[in-house]
């Protein structure tokens, strides 16, 4: 097990005029080395909190998170990469320097940095844009820059928080293909948070379906896809069946979440 969560919950303490909010858990979860795990759930169910806790960006109020056998607490351990929903590219750096940012922090030699960045730029289809600034790129391209910036650090666990949320449907499907290719080639373990059921079904080995707040796993559904797969599986019969099953689980929770909002 590369990651394990034991009875993890997160409670936001009461603040001026605001009651205490139980955002997450308790959650138990184990991710196998090299698996692709997707999390879906109604809005506000604590999906992003789950990711923050797993990454070490937030501490669990109760329970423990372990990454490669070591407890995660308050600091993001080396070996974990995170891609956010919002554009996290640095607007003052070129695409090349953005991708090199993390590598340079590790003190890698400039020759090594250049080689790694060249590979990532090629892999993510950013070759013609290495000297461009993020402002000159589309939203999808900027998200690729962020993925490339994570990729060059060779993370063993990649956490993605609705990375394609701001993109149109077609771009999302294609980015999904690229993510699958990246997953196969790097052998990394991936946890993808998404609100798109089809995205979860198409990409993941297992889909964790979360309840309305406080978010817990209602069920974890194995998809049974072969490792070699791409977005064309959306046409298959079992794709529809799986997506339907997830929606059946989620429907009541989404109505609950909607009523509260």
């Amino acid at each position: 097990m590369i990651v394990s969560l034991r009875a993890v919950s997160r409670v936001y303490p009461a603040r001026a005029g605001q009651p205490e909010v139980h955002a997450l858990g308790p959650i138990d979860l184990e991710l196998a080395q090299g698996e692709f795990f997707a999390v879906v759930g109604p809005s506000g169910c604590g999906k992003s909190t789950l990711l923050d806790v797993m990454a070490g960006l937030a501490s669990p109020s109760c329970g423990e998170v372990h990454f490669e056998g070591k407890q995660v607490k308050g600091v993001v351990p080396p070996g974990i990469g995170v891609v956010f929903q919002e554009d996290a590219s640095f607007p003052w750096l070129t695409v090349h320097d953005n991708i090199a940012f993390g590598l340079r922090q590790t003190g890698a030699a400039e020759g090594e940095v250049a080689a790694q960045v060249a590979y990532a730029v090629e892999f993510m289809g950013l070759k013609d844009f290495a000297r461009a600034y993020p402002a000159q790129l589309s939203g999808g391209m900027r998200q690729r820059v962020c993925i490339a910036r994570t990729l060059v650090l060779k993370p063993r666990l990649i956490l993605l928080d609705e990375p394609f949320g701001a993109l149109d449907q077609q771009t999302r499907l294609l980015m999904g293909d690229e993510l699958l290719r990246l997953w196969r080639e790097t052998g990394a373990t991936i946890l993808l948070i998404t609100h798109a059921l089809d995205e979860a079904t198409m990409l993941a080995d297992r889909v964790g379906v979360m309840s309305a707040r406080p978010g817990r796993f209602l069920d974890i559904i194995p998809t049974g896809w072969p490792r070699e797969r791409d977005s064309t599986i959306v046409a298959s019969e079992s794709f529809g069946r799986l997506t339907g099953r997830i929606w059946t689980l989620l429907r009541g929770e989404s109505i609950r979440a909607l009523g509260r909002a």
Binding site: V76, F84, E86, P91, W92, L93, F101, A135
Partner: protein, 249 residues
Amino acid sequence: MNASVARIVLVVGAVAALELLCRTGVIPNFTMIPPSAMAQSLWKILASGKFTPDIVTTLTNVGIAIAAAMIVGVAIGTLLQSSPTTRRVLDPLFATYYAVPMYAFYPLLIVIFGLGDLPQVAIGFLLAVMAVILNTLNGLDRVPPVLLKAARVHRLGPLKTALQVRLPCAAPYVFTGFKLAVAYSFIGVIGAEFITSSRGIGYEISFAYNNFDNGVMYAMILFILLLVITVNMSLHAWEKRLLARRRRI
């Protein structure tokens, strides 16, 4: 006709009108000399090297005031932004800062710093530093939280986060502070030279004024005008280049 052509026409027209008014005697020569005479006088003064030490003194003092305001302003702005409590205490004081006539402190500054260049530098600095602090704060407040999260994912400490993420992100706002600091430093230093200094451009203008020496006075006024315009236009061009790469297209 585009804006820059219109601007040139406006400036050239105004100078020509002034020239005409002075030449025809509508504006008497003891009030103002024609712009062409100002330029000639300035050329002679610069060629003679008579005021070179004054110009060097003023530019040095302005330079020191600007540099100090930039460094201290960015440092204070960054520290304050990371300490909301201190900031809440100081914010109302900051808001009234520019209501204080800084020159009123000139006697005090002389008592503290003596009669040399330091009181002038101090006034330039005091006027300039707050513009840098306020603009730095404004810029840092606008750093998107996701970039700070990205910094944490890369395990950057507070200092590295400030230097490599917060400040670069806030750079356009900090730059606005720098531009104001340049303007305020000129105002502060040259204004202070009028009061009790015994050298510098401001002092020479004041001296010429007291001696009815319009040739020197207007030449030096023209010199300051050209200097400040040149400095500001270069800064503006530099800023445009820096911002171009960050603007969405």
